[in-house]
Symmetry: C2
Subunit: 552 residues, 2 copies
Amino acid sequence: MERIIDNISPLQRARADYEPKVPSIFNGHIHIAEGETTVSVDDCEEIKALFPNTYGLPIVRFEAAEMADTTDPINVGVILSGGQAPGGHNVIAGLFDGIKKISSESKLYGFLMGPDGLVQHRYKELTADIIDEYRNTGGFDIIGSGRTKLETKEQFDQGLLVLKELNIKALVIIGGDDSNTNACVLAEYYKSIDAGVQVIGCPKTIDGDLKNDQIETSFGFDTACKVYSEVIGNIQRDCNSARKYWHFIKLMGRSASHIALECALQVQPNICIISEEVKEKQTTLAEIVDYIANVVAKRADKGENFGTVLIPEGLIEFLPAMKKLITELNDFLSRYGDDLELVKKSAKRDYIISKLSPENGQFYASLPKSVAQQLTLDRDPHGNVQVSLIETEQLLADMVGKKLKTWKKMGKYTGKYKVLTHFFGYEGRSSAPSNFDADYCYTLGYTASVLIAGGKTGYMSTVRHTHRPHEEWIPGGVPITMMMNMEKRHGEMKPVIRKALVKLDGKPFRTFVEHREEWALNTCYLYPGPIQYFGPSEVCDQPTKTLMLEHT
Amino acid sequence: MERIIDNISPLQRARADYEPKVPSIFNGHIHIAEGETTVSVDDCEEIKALFPNTYGLPIVRFEAAEMADTTDPINVGVILSGGQAPGGHNVIAGLFDGIKKISSESKLYGFLMGPDGLVQHRYKELTADIIDEYRNTGGFDIIGSGRTKLETKEQFDQGLLVLKELNIKALVIIGGDDSNTNACVLAEYYKSIDAGVQVIGCPKTIDGDLKNDQIETSFGFDTACKVYSEVIGNIQRDCNSARKYWHFIKLMGRSASHIALECALQVQPNICIISEEVKEKQTTLAEIVDYIANVVAKRADKGENFGTVLIPEGLIEFLPAMKKLITELNDFLSRYGDDLELVKKSAKRDYIISKLSPENGQFYASLPKSVAQQLTLDRDPHGNVQVSLIETEQLLADMVGKKLKTWKKMGKYTGKYKVLTHFFGYEGRSSAPSNFDADYCYTLGYTASVLIAGGKTGYMSTVRHTHRPHEEWIPGGVPITMMMNMEKRHGEMKPVIRKALVKLDGKPFRTFVEHREEWALNTCYLYPGPIQYFGPSEVCDQPTKTLMLEHT
């Protein structure tokens, strides 16, 4: 019987013993095999010029070897960068086990609270007892994370001092597209000054937008989507029992709609909006409202005054009219912000409309008051509109309600419309990893140790064939420059890893499109339930539907 | 490998095969043994006078028997009443299996969308294939639920027509305290007119406030608390990794704080407010804000500008000042509501304050604008304040922020205070039941069939010793009148089942109090993780901490 007050939950205790499943090749010694040289996905000349030392490197694969290439101890540093994603601790555990297998005298240092820890020389040695405490757990609390960007020569030089002091031969940076871009810049710099420090990246982000031909998925996406799908599924079961609410559910994910799409495939909601489609088709807010209201009305005709709508967090920025409005508002606020403060509260809205271009003014006037307020009252320290604070779920729910009222007057709609809104984000970022993410992350970390032992720098740790049984997974390394192109950032052209948005011709989106009409009108809800760790493999070990559809 | 688009999730498929664990006594034939006669918990004379036919009945236990008492087919009707609770479908499955074991010719009818289905004669026969589809699933969608109260003779007589038509010998009502009270009134009435229809109740509610000496817990409480604790745990892991947010989390549960207390025991948050304590100590809103702000400040002194606060949904109604204000506001709105409409928006607040008593006016003035607005703008169809719409989590977060600002000016506080708010409710009401609830509910339903076969009416199905292994569970029946007393409802004295609030001298609350100071200042978070169905018993089969503490 469990102790009633304890310092660890029964599931935490049971999961501590889980041994991540790894590719067969990890059972013996490994030798690195180099493939053909690579080129960047675009802007090859510019990228090559910016990364003379790390451009054009070969993709590397692992081969079974008779004996180890090296048995010299290696000191390694590790950094967690950006938002939490389930499995980060397992990357570190895999890295730890990997370098300890090379030599029991290898040491792993964790830099504290993100990249800043490297610059500020805040670190701790990650010993076996610390690592064991964090195996298969969620969160990034083992060393913390942070959002400082490693970009400047001063930061790099400052970091090098502590790396040299600790005799660190390689640095592993666990982060998203930006952090991996910076990892590559750092790798290039250390190589160019012959610093003797390799840099390896690991693909992290629940948003799922760090993927390409070489990276099948970023870690954390699997778990986060499963957590969101669990609670959405529960809400759908409630919705289908109570039969009286429309639930508008916003899901984390600023740039891409991978999370919303994956959840839609897992729960089969009545409606899911995909930002990339909105952008491609130049769909207006009014058209989205019309589309949702239409589904509500059609279901009402069948007596079904309930349903679910999934909304990606980033939608608002994909709406062309909203984008234009925000641009003009930012400009307006910087010029007239102080004047606006002096305008009487009840007159603010009209004042703003009078100052905007007719097109933006009209669009602004069409927004519900609460959203209009959010757009102008809550500004970030630079005076800009804080898009992430806009409650898109409430915005759409209100506008659909307004539309339905007009339809009711016209006799076009006779149903009842009651709404509940939800936002899921923080619930999924730090969940304990699913078996998939636990295995995948451990493998990524272990792979990083092999790349380090092989002397590689400017590489990202990768695992391919992740839709197959773990024995067949193919770990390796990909030069980060290969994934880069030039993009405008803050008005300047920069080398960056290309963000992976939802492909409208990809199988996940096409599968959704094939079914969405049926899901809209009929009630085809699925209830995925909570992540399971111990049951049948088809329940516990399946990757996301996105991954399966993209690779089978 | 799972099918990618399917009509059922892999976990749903796996759970369909789960066979609920039952008390050993269910393995053979059962005979009902009667104990001593009972009296009501209070107001015995009044209750006895109101229930002449169902008062003073004995508690009944089950004994193993050589052969069945009856093998005659029995037709039974079942009703789901009120909000969803995990396990409702298993009550129905247990009932179905129970009456089919008596005779394969027994029939089960489900009345649709709650008690209204009985009155309106809307029903469907629940056949084996329907039952099988819903075993171990969440929600109430098998027949739907509703909130119509069965209270009048007209309803009872109308219902009797369809019961007679279907040759239904017994009606099982699955509901909370009110529904079970009404079940007893119905039992009394049918007995008094010799209608030949027994009525049996089943204790349902995620709120956990239907419990007493005879009923150890209401079903659904276990699962709902585990779902909430999972997501709170995830948020705590995030909180402890990001180290920069205070999360204010409101939890469903209008009257009692059992859910908040159970979640606190499961996740060990920094702060949890218990409404019953607030009421007992006559704590003011200002004192609660002070208490929270103090913890925030003390943690800030240690550099920990993050934490979690659990808030029961019903808190607002337990605050004496708020209760008084709402009473006066309801009165005010009914008298001056139309005048208020005419007052200019910016002047409304002052207008309201001018009309309230000085005490209530002062308290109203102290509330953040958004909450003050919620109190007067959103009214229910009767013109009353809609308490459930008040965002208590935002209210407290804002007021704590204000307090901290004044402390900052005084130099008493130097930390950073960033807030995120959450409300969890619908996520837990319709989750698939935990093993505990799946087993408990099935046992409750099966027990109901035994009570029916034994000719009992006015009884609630009960299971005792639920903190022990299922073999030792003791199913039986308790006369509903035994749990009753007289209480004022809508100005009238009524016989009702006494609601179980959190006992301040009970072990669950005392255990919380013993630890809360430590949890406030240190970070002692537990991460319970998702409900598990297939793993080790200490992970999958544990009841709530509340239940364990109350019974061991």
